[in-house]
């Protein structure tokens, strides 16, 4: 193997590995959001929920050093805040776009304030316990593919498992059928004995769980510290991935991979050094997501028919 092929294969290995790594958090958030949207709720508040989950996991890991507990706490914090969102969306029947959007501003204010409150006197960002890449004994030694696929962190494999579970639950269980019926035609679902409110609450809570976990994932397996700007629109990208994946968990996983690939390109290209400005690569994932949901490519995305429509029991 001469030098240049070694270089190319190293580049590809680094790029693929980073793609999978970066796709993880947005995929978890997108999986949760799929349940909310299939039940008829557009939860724009996941951007803020991810931030709150990130803060919760950071503080838990900082205080206790237990990473799995931190991930669990992040998930529970996501559920707790989405209970408020669900109440706003479903019981109050407030506009979902407005509520979600303002919740994001609220979450930003809350997270910033709480972070300063707890770590007010600490100047430098503290290092916390984080997930380390796994070392699978046999498969990990396969050249290029081995470290890429078998050398990710534990939450990545959890996310993949969740994608499969989400697919099965949505399309192979009566709960999934009831949830999708609620999002397509709530009146019909209601007359078939399905509680529309309960289904929508569950969908929104699941999106909160996914978003909270995504925040924990982001902090515990990628960044290792907390900043107000840590989420940087990944919640919105997750929303785009749900559309990109046509409200289907497995297709969302593919869409997340496309996003991760674009995001990783910027890291890898910086390593080998290109003349193009880094901001061009930084903007790429957003541009690709915009193009993906613009309707330019593929068949027109058809959302659940009752998405964003509040339901009043007749």
């Amino acid at each position: 193997m001469n030098g240049s092929t070694l270089m190319v294969s190293a580049f590809f290995a680094a790029w693929l590995s980073a793609s999978l790594r970066l796709a993880g958090p947005v995929l978890v958030a997108a999986l949760g959001e799929t349940f909310a949207e299939q039940s008829g709720i557009l939860n724009l508040g996941i951007e803020g929920t991810i931030l709150l989950g990130a803060l919760a996991s950071f503080l838990t890991s900082y205080r206790t050093g237990m990473i799995w507990t931190s991930l669990l706490v992040a998930t529970l914090v996501g559920v707790a805040f989405s209970l408020f969102l669900a109440w706003m969306y479903i019981s109050v029947r407030a506009s979902q776009v407005i509520t979600g959007l303002i919740f994001n501003v609220f979450a930003l204010g809350l997270a910033t304030t709480l972070y300063r409150l707890v770590l007010g006197n600490v100047a430098a960002p503290e290092s916390i316990a984080v997930f380390q890449p796994l070392r699978v004994p046999l498969f990990g030694r396969i050249p290029i593919v081995g470290p890429v696929i078998f050398g990710q962190t534990a939450p990545f494999y959890l996310t993949l498992a969740l994608a499969v579970v989400a697919q099965l639950v949505l399309y192979r269980t009566s709960f999934g059928l009831a949830l999708r019926a609620t999002g397509e035609n709530p009146a019909a679902a209601d007359s078939a004995g399905i509680s529309v409110h309960r289904m929508r609450y569950l969908g929104t809570l699941l999106s909160g769980a996914g978003a909270g976990m995504a925040g924990g994932y982001l902090v515990l397996a990628q960044v290792g510290l907390f900043r107000e700007t840590i989420v940087a629109g990944q919640g919105f990208i997750a929303l785009g991935i749900v559309i990109f994946g046509r409200w289907n968990p497995l297709k969302a996983a593919l869409a997340a991979l496309v996003f991760g690939g674009c995001d990783a390109l910027q890291l890898s290209l910086q390593i080998i050094g290109t003349k193009a400005p880094p901001q061009l690569w930084l903007a790429l994932p957003y541009v690709v997501t915009i193009l993906g949901i613009s309707g330019l490519f593929g068949n027109r995305a058809v959302p659940p028919a009752a998405l964003m429509k509040p339901y009043v029991k007749a």
Binding site: M88, I102, V105, F106, G240, I293
Partner: protein, 377 residues
Amino acid sequence: MAAPGNPNVTKLFERRLTPADSPLAVAGTTALAVCVAMGIAAIFFHHYGASPVQAYFGLFHEPFGTLHGFGYALVRAAPLALVALGTIVSWRSGFYYLGFEGCFVIGAAAVGWMSLATPRGPHLGPLFLPLAILLSLTVGGLWAGLVAFVRVRLGGNEVLISLMSNYVARFFLQYLVSGPLRAPGSLPETSVLPHDTWLPFLVPGTRGHAGILIAVAAALLVWALLQKLPLGYELIVTGFNPAAARYAGIEVGRRMMLAGFFAGGLGALAGMVEVLGSQHRLMDGISGNMGFVGIIVALLSRLNPLATVPIALVYGGMSVGADAMQRRAAIPSSITFLLESLAILLVLASDIFRFYRLNFTFLTRFKWRVSPGEDSA
């Protein structure tokens, strides 16, 4: 005594068939919601050892009790009001545009570049501002109009596309200030814009600049457009009932694209006002979340253009007061984000209370039920 299942049973909260929508009920629930939000924020103030009364006094005294602070409040209010006006035009036309952060940045970048690039000379003086307004309206209008085009012609979701376009705009500005427009020095920012391109200061000794006049003029124009002109009527019908609008011969798609163009132009104008009036140079993060806070201002104005300027002044004033508190008492100014957003969330939530009637007979009955027991004993 009322038995369970008896339809005459009295509950403390009784559901109404229609919400109470008298002005008193609306004002009452709104005031209650704001009070609860202020109460929750007071917990945070308390943590920093500030009494809530002092804190709230400080929040409003600096911007509205001192001339210097009021100047700053005007500075903050002008871009917020312009973003709010953009929100009103687009949302009332049924185009849920959320990309004002991006428009703000694009407008600021275009005008900042124009200010740095135009050759100096006395002949340009009075012409610069009209040209800058025209430029920002055009670039912002095209930026948002593109999203409207995608929505109308391709069926893309404008909410998400506009949210993500904010990040694209931000990276574009980052590129400008760290690359072609970067001034020599350690920070990625441009050099200070030439003085003769600044917006004039209104009150000597304060930072208050003419941007607020632009905001007031824009508010009047938007009000006139929506309330007095046939075009505005068509925009509102488009937002209210697109099917009816189409039936009445209104070209819904074109009207929506026009609304997007206006909204983006107003958002970019906010960026222009900020860069020419207040920052006087371009740097990353120039929008400071105003593209979102402006939307909140529009909502608090209940999408009424004439209410935007006073409400933006209150909001801008609060952020000035918060900054003063941060300087003096080290209370993080992010608390105001918390307070403002919580207030509007609870105002939205308070609508549910108008569906219920508080039953005072429940309370009297409760007393009555106790007294016969005492009699028999």
